[in-house]
């Protein structure tokens, strides 16, 4: 019996050495107590290498959980990640309000420019009401060319709509009992920022806010997770949806482009089109504004109803210069934008361009010699340009569509 007791005691000793070893080698959590939540998060224990998502979301202030959800104190991946909002993408439209919303974040006051989420949720990019309306109208399934359906039930929550559309019903092909809507639903209904992209590397993007603000192309090196939100959105990010091919309405299908463009000039997918230099030198976001891309808070029926920037927005007409605004106070939206994407050293007293709707073109500044300088938002490259006034241009101020400017200024592309 003594031998048995001795063996058992040795077994116990060994076991406890094992327990001690396990207890002492278990990594201690890396504790972060973000200012906004005030409660501990251990996420950095594993994710210390992850870059900060943006300068406007400092990790010490936001932490991880306020946006991503998850279990802040768990050190096992399965449990820690089990309640993450939107999986790896908290900006997905179905969870964006919980992740990015809030009065002081991205669903706040319109006057303060904090209404990003309500604007995006009613925008054509998210409702897909433009395509749905065009299909229903073109095939005689609705009489008026006015949006009635979106991919989900959508309401204009501020109760004030210049377009007059207060609500979109959720589109379903069953409503119409038509082969057109059935094919449309099958082939086209996934083409909005709330949906996952089509298969293929050239289509790869996230959904929700990250569809635009988290560029994937060129970021996927080394298999490292992509953890960035940026205002420096290159044209290639827009190209994950746009410029990817054409639509065949008879077959109700998308025909992907088969060419392999070697430069920006040929990356536009409009085989016979003409382009001026701005269109193939700058990035899309250098001209197209926040409201055009993210919506203006109203529900619209067509992309044309929301796009308004023209050549004259920056260049003016032969009768008048482009609209400008001088920055007078530190809270100016232009200064905030320039802080978030510091391609331009903007300061109080600078004069920038504004659109006819009052949106600041914060990356374009008036120079003392009367010219303008533009800093490309994605590349930071500096361009200078002149206004049309006092030049040889004779274009009728009332005819300002791009096709008129193309007549003199376009470069023809070899087919």
């Amino acid at each position: 019996m003594k031998t048995k007791l001795l063996v058992a005691s040795c077994a116990l000793l060994l076991t406890w050495v094992l327990v001690l070893w396990k207890g002492l080698t278990t990594p201690q959590p890396v504790v972060l107590i973000p200012v906004l939540s005030g409660s501990a998060e251990y996420c950095l224990t594993c994710h210390l290498e992850l870059p900060q998502i943006s300068n406007s979301h400092p990790i010490e202030t936001f932490g991880c959980v306020i946006c991503h959800g998850g279990q802040p104190l768990a050190l096992e991946a399965d449990l820690a990640h089990s309640t993450m909002r939107g999986g790896d993408n908290p900006s997905r439209l179905d969870v964006v309000e919980q992740s990015c919303g809030g009065e002081k974040c991205h669903s706040g006051d319109m006057a303060l420019g904090r209404d990003h989420i309500p604007r995006v949720l009613t925008s054509i990019q998210a409702t897909y009401s433009g395509a749905i309306t065009q299909i229903l109208f073109s095939f005689g399934l609705q009489q008026e060319n006015v949006a009635r359906y979106g991919v989900r039930l959508t309401q204009d929550k501020d109760g004030n709509s210049l377009s007059g559309i207060m609500q979109l019903e959720a589109f379903s092909p069953q409503i119409f009992e038509s082969s057109v809507t059935a094919a449309f639903a099958q082939n086209c209904l996934g083409c909005h920022i709330g949906a996952d992209p089509m298969p293929g590397e050239e289509y790869q993007r996230f959904s929700g806010c990250a569809a635009c603000h988290t560029p994937i192309l060129g970021s996927k090196q080394n298999g490292a997770p992509i953890h960035t939100l940026t205002l420096a959105i290159p044209y290639s990010q827009c190209n994950t949806c746009h410029n990817r091919g054409n639509y065949d309405l008879r077959a109700m299908s998308f025909i992907p482009r088969t060419d392999q463009p070697s430069d920006r000039f040929h990356d536009y997918y409009q085989p016979i089109a003409q382009f001026v230099r701005c269109e193939w030198t700058l990035d899309c976001v250098d001209c197209h504004t926040r409201q055009e891309a993210m919506g203006d808070g109203d529900i619209h029926s067509d992309q044309k109803d929301i796009q308004y920037v023209q050549c004259r927005t920056c260049h003016g007409t032969i009768l008048e210069p482009p609209l400008t605004q001088t920055i007078t106070h530190a809270e100016d939206l232009a200064l905030k934008m320039a802080f978030l994407n510091p391609v331009i050293n903007l300061k109080i007293g600078d004069t920038i361009l504004v659109t006819e709707k009052g949106e600041p073109l914060w990356n374009i500044r008036l120079l003392p010699d009367g010219r303008y300088e533009l800093f490309a938002k994605a590349s930071g490259q500096r361009f200078t340009f002149r206004k049309v006034m006092d030049t040889a241009c004779q274009q009728n101020p009332l005819e300002q569509g791009s096709r008129y400017c193309h007549q003199c200024h376009a470069e023809e592309r070899a087919p």
């Binding site: 019996m1 077994a11 076991t15 251990y42």
Partner: protein, 351 residues
């Protein structure tokens, strides 16, 4: 040994044991060590439970988080929690084994009828302790137990709603339910278990020690001393700690995200393993019959064994499967088989 020399007198631990016990009934293959292991596991539960009380927060919004803190931050917290968990699971098994040993060896016969009942009520208390401890997690993993399991109380005629109120402190699971369950777990039920346990062990001695045939009818008259018994217990305790430590090191207790909304039921949620058979039964009939009546009948059946069935003959005591207890053995085996079968059925993946 000279009884007048104080240094040779048995110390407190030895004093708790009878001076000698029959060797044949002290063999592991007869007792399966189940009673002794149950006492050992209870002590581990008390110590580890007290340690957990230093960190556990019985507030609905913080309970699951405090368990995560115990698991991931507190030094050796994971080990203490796992020890508590595994001791609790094993205690259900060892006390059930002890109960079945008594039933299948006829040891419930007079004069041990009262002690048999004390033991049976202690087993019920252990199940309730396990169930309440399981609920203290207050995470997504306990949804069935909280929503469906406790709801069964309401189906008990007359006293059901009052009993539910007593246990959960409201008509529905609510923030005060957790503090109720916590109080029941660490105080009400634990105190009851300790009182019943001490009474049970006292009655074992008062009823003449382990059940055994009268001297004239015994196969063997060999006896072992309390020193030998204590050494065997020591060996069992050492291996018990080794097993528990290893289980706790490599098989962590379940953990899940905090419960989001207590009012939501989930079809995927499972009962704790020792109530799986009740969960399965509920699929086949009304809640009162399947969830209250049948479990109550099973308990009543076991409680009435010493009173309804033929008393085992004294010369058959101290051996497995006495002939005079056939009826009890067969009917108990059938009940046991149905419970195990229902448990296996409940473990099938949901369609």
């Amino acid at each position: 040994m000279d009884p007048h020399r104080p240094s040779k007198r048995p110390d407190f631990y030895l004093h708790l044991h009878p001076p000698t016990i029959p060797a044949r009934q002290a063999r592991f293959r007869y007792t399966l060590g189940a009673g002794g292991l149950s006492v050992f596991l209870t002590l581990v539960l008390l110590v580890s439970g007290i340690l957990l009380m230093f960190y556990y927060i019985p507030i609905t919004k913080q309970a699951a988080e405090s368990i995560q803190r115990i698991t991931y931050l507190v030094p050796f917290g994971f080990w203490v929690r796992n020890l508590h968990y595994w001791s609790a699971q094993l205690l259900v098994l060892t006390s059930l084994t002890h109960l079945l040993r008594v039933v299948f060896s006829g040891a419930y016969a007079p004069p041990r009828r009262l002690n048999y009942l004390i033991g049976l009520f202690m087993f019920a208390t252990i199940l309730l302790l396990d169930f309440s401890g399981y609920l203290l997690r207050w995470d997504e993993g306990i949804r069935w137990a909280l929503v469906v399991g406790t709801n069964l109380l309401k189906f008990i005629p007359l006293v059901g709603p009052s009993l539910y109120l007593l246990v959960l402190g409201g008509d529905l699971p609510n923030p005060s339910s957790l503090i109720r369950l916590y109080s029941w777990h660490i105080f009400g039920l634990s105190l009851m278990a300790v009182i019943l346990g001490v009474w049970h062990i006292f009655r074992v001695r008062r009823d003449g020690g382990i059940a055994v045939a009268p001297a004239a009818a015994r196969q063997s008259h060999a006896r072992i001393s309390r020193f030998e018994l204590a050494q065997r217990e020591g060996l069992a305790i050492l291996y018990g700690i080794v097993s528990l430590s290893l289980l706790s090191l490599f098989l962590p207790a379940p953990i899940a995200p905090p419960m989001s909304d207590v009012s939501l039921a989930s079809t995927e949620a499972r009962a704790p393993w020792f109530f799986l058979w009740v969960q399965e039964l509920l699929k086949y009939g009304p809640p009162f019959t399947m969830g209250v009546l049948i479990p109550a009948m099973v308990f009543t059946y076991f409680a009435l064994i010493p009173y309804l069935f033929p008393t085992p003959q004294p010369h058959e005591l101290g051996e497995w499967f006495p002939k005079s207890g056939r009826m009890v053995q067969i009917s108990s085996a059938i009940i046991l088989f149905v419970i195990i079968w229902m448990t296996i059925l409940a473990l099938r993946p949901a369609p």
